[in-house]
Subunit: 569 residues, 2 copies
């Protein structure tokens, strides 16, 4: 392709609200353009990268035995009512009426339609296992779309659904998909982790996320230094401290802490380690007031707390004053047993001689001990996020935390949808069994953004070869003005095309600096520069996108040289 016949939409300015590097760079490099909040046009350059991801996904899904089909974007409400998601799915599910006032949705995902298809098409275990997938535009009406295509409303997703006569076969396919996803993200040149995950809104049991590692990621991942253990922090268990609770060594005493409402401030004032302070978090369950207790250096994990005690909301200041007679910052568990339920994190249950709010403005209590100064908590549970250095839940090594971008997710749905929609087959004994189902998603558009998040520098995008829009760029200097350069460039360009190399020749009438900057910005892995002086010596200049220095390469044998470089990438 010649840039003069292409559309290279590189621009200087990124939108002011673009927080992520991938968002800024995808706009600046002309990969995408915003049409509306969370809705983007993929320009020719970006679409080439997107299609490369699609191609790798398709190839590996086919290799794994899945079969491609295509379900409609517009789906009738009836099926969503049948599964119950018409009611339970939030406003992210885009609902509308057609001209005959019938209810429809634009699909965010296709469990209902595929299960409806399965109940009509599948009658016998002999038709199983089957795995259908599609690569297609989806819509999720996010309340606050952001980060460009990373969390857009319209996006391309690969969604696959497998059907099995029993759980054992579902587990076999689940492992097959685990391996397939691992191959896909490896081929795409991404650094990623497969982590155990919570199943969220999709439901079912058994689930892994595939997370591309990047500091800007929205998810936190805990992994072990001593084993393969890796999990979303929401799922990573914080074990009880190995050491048992020590016997009390101090007397409880009230200490003035005026203006010191945060654990860090209290610890500093009292010259104590933060881990000796206790953080009390007031929540409401229906009309019951509950204190959640965490160590001062720990953070609440709301999902874990919900699992431990059920749904709750944070208490208002007025509710704290009513229950404890004290404003936030000074609340604590001592002397409240009669009217307040106290739920403690495992680490808290192991504390002794600790500090917490005195339920009196401007005061804390120090030297507190369980049993002596207050009753044991009514419930001890895992309420906190794991931290760097925590022991790994599998008992091997300790945990590290990384941030990640979720690009894939595999689920064992079991019979959640087949049960609701009545999709069953006859098994080998002639008995009716609900279909066991798995579902497997890859955020195709998000993969492009995540790859850029992981692969860029101050000059622009530096994509792995597997998803770069072109393999090579050819930059002739003064192509429009210098006949020798033009002739040599046209000749080399033709040779490269003949050799099947995806080359972009920048034949625009621009200064060399502009051409170099644009080619660096758009992220082509390899570059050849042709200039008059080098030509005279029979040479061109080669540089990989990630190289610091260019080097001269003889024009004779250039195609062979480049084929080697491309094979390395």
């Amino acid at each position: 392709m010649r840039t003069s016949r292409f559309h290279l939409g590189t621009i200087k300015e990124a939108p002011a609200d673009a927080e992520l590097a991938s968002h800024r760079l995808m706009i600046r490099a002309g990969y995408v353009r915003r049409l509306a909040a969370g809705i983007y046009t993929w320009l020719p350059l970006g679409l080439r990268a997107l299609r490369k991801v699609e191609a790798v996904v398709r190839e590996e899904m086919n290799r794994a035995g899945a079969i491609e089909l295509s379900m409609p974007a517009v789906q009738p409400a009836e099926l969503w009512q049948e599964s119950g998601r018409w009611q339970t799915y939030g406003p992210e599910l885009l609902r509308f009426k057609d001209r005959h006032e019938r209810d429809f949705v634009i699909q965010p995902t296709s469990e209902e339609v595929i299960t409806d298809l399965a109940r009509a098409e599948l009658k016998s275990y002999r038709q199983l296992p089957l795995h259908f997938y599609q690569i297609q535009t989806k819509f999720r009406d996010e309340r606050r779309p952001r980060f460009g295509v990373m969390r857009g409303r319209e996006f391309v997703m690969k969604d696959g659904y497998s059907f099995h006569v029993d759980h054992a076969d579902l587990e076999r396919e689940y492992r097959n998909m685990y391996d397939t996803y691992t191959r896909i993200f490896t081929r795409l040149g991404l650094r990623f982790r497969a982590v155990a995950a919570d199943t969220g809104a999709i439901g079912g049991t058994g689930s892994h996320e595939f997370q591309v590692l990047a500091d800007s990621g929205e998810d936190a991942i805990a992994y072990s230094t001593g084993s393969d253990y890796a999990a979303n922090v929401d799922l990573a268990e914080a074990l009880a401290p190995a050491e048992a609770r020590r016997a009390p060594a101090e007397q409880m005493r009230k200490v003035p802490t005026p203006g010191k409402t945060r654990c860090e401030e209290v610890a500093e004032l009292l010259k104590l380690p933060l881990a000796r302070t206790l953080k009390a978090i007031a929540v409401m369950q229906d009309e019951q007031f509950v204190l959640l207790l965490l160590r001062g250096d720990h953070e609440l994990n709301e999902l874990k707390a919900q699992k431990a005690i059920g749904a709750f909301r944070f208490a208002l200041e007025a509710e704290m004053r009513r229950a404890l007679g004290c404003p936030p910052g000074y609340i604590g568990p001592v002397g409240v047993a009669a009217r307040v339920r106290v739920v403690a994190d495992r680490s808290v249950a192991a504390m002794s001689d600790f500090v917490c709010g005195a339920n009196e403005e401007g005061f804390h209590l120090a030297g507190i001990n369980w049993r002596r100064d207050l009753p044991e908590p009514s419930l001890v549970a895992d309420l906190r996020n794991v931290m760097e250095g925590d022991p790994s839940p599998d008992g091997q090594g300790s945990l590290r935390i990384q941030r990640g971008i979720e690009v894939g997710h595999i689920f064992q749905l079991r019979t959640k949808y087949s049960g609701a929609l009545g999709a069953a087959v006859l098994d080998a004994k002639g008995e009716t069994r609900p279909l066991e189902m798995g579902c497997y998603g890859i955020g195709v558009t998000r993969v492009v953004a995540a790859a850029i998040e992981q692969h860029h520098d101050e000059r622009g995008i530096a994509l792995p070869a597997a998803l770069a829009p072109f393999a090579l760029c050819l930059v002739p200097i003064a192509y429009r003005k210098n006949e020798k350069v033009r002739a040599a460039a046209d000749r080399l360009y033709a040779e490269l095309l003949d050799a099947g190399i995806e080359v972009l020749m920048d034949d625009r009438d621009e200064r060399a600096g502009v051409l170099f900057a644009d080619m660096d910005l758009i992220g082509i892995p390899h570059r050849i520069v042709l200039a008059e002086r080098g030509l005279a010596a029979g040479e061109a200049e080669y540089k990989a996108r990630r190289d610091a220095q260019a080097r001269n390469v003889p024009l004779a044998g250039m195609v062979a040289f480049l084929k080697e470089r491309l094979a390395e990438a």
Copy 2:
């Protein structure tokens, strides 16, 4: 692919409402399944055919210099308001509100979005010409979706939009696309015609339709036996008769025609040629009563009549009685000049000694002549459909009529959208010029249905090789029971895959008759049957889908033999 690992959704019964062969066969062969009115899931087999059409379209569009991008399915209302189509597009435009109550549409086509992109991206004539296209899901909320995917609501369309600094360059690209579409439909093995067309709702000037010829087509095409002339009948001009009006030879007389309300009945009763009778059609323009006159053997073309006199509706019986004092079937133009406007087709103006209703129930007038018996019509215009045998409007040869299915449409939009949205560039003189635009569509899903409409027989689908889901099917007889057959089939299957042949091996445990019927139904162009007896003789049976007879072919050299057959198709 093995059928045992695929999903072959062949079924016996087609839906009762399936009027077209393509609709019946696409359901029966497991190409598609209906999800809702006009909304279909593409099953694996159908999707393979659809993807082949997409691939040919993409290849030829790229070859022609167009560049692929991808615009969103969900588009903000603002742009449609800016172009005016928010108001003018009927309920086919699916409109909805997002969670923030903002108006959106699901795109039926993307003129607005691409023009919005162009006004942001294009500043100078030096960026032109440019042609962007996409292949993508569209939605048109048809009032009465029918004929399966032929007139569905959700469908895949290739839509392209070109931008030019002047009309001459647009005309160059228009011819380029005319040639490209001709190549595409030729490569797909379709019998088609490019015909001059009305521009319809898209607007602009200059337009051709690409019509796949099929008796079941919704459109009628007129073409000349003596030239390249071809046009949608709505656009094909019916010339005035070459012969001038003859002098009157008869006296006007009233004849009793009780119960004879149709021209055919009157002609038969009076033993006259149908072409001597006159058909009067009563219409209303606002409150004015108008008679449209056609020869008894001609048909009204409403589009032409509208062009001649402006918008109208057909008159009600009460309105006829009020204006003419007579019920339908006996109305006519004699004696009504004072209160009724009379508009005549060109052929009518040339008639003499003709017959028409007497404006008296049970009577007609015969021997009528213009001027003598009634004044000349107030307007003479082309009001009728052309007929077989009419002279071609280009003066060369005479017309034939064929029915067609519109699969492509190219338009010169000129500045309709660029003007409305203010998309302009600086020309070579530094002056601002609105972009000249063309737009070019192919109904990708409809191509599959149209191809089947043209290529099927009583046994099922018989697609051209270019869009068949597989090139070849291999049918081993008793694969599950006969070890020799299984071994030979597995060996040949592996050889065919190695040779890069797209083969479907039917390894299901079914009777030979079932396998044959299914393979014929799904429309694979070539078939090999392996059975024990043939194997013993070192032979297999080959048959092309359209052959009447199978023939034996030596197994040695089978791959080479098949490669030759496949190359022929």
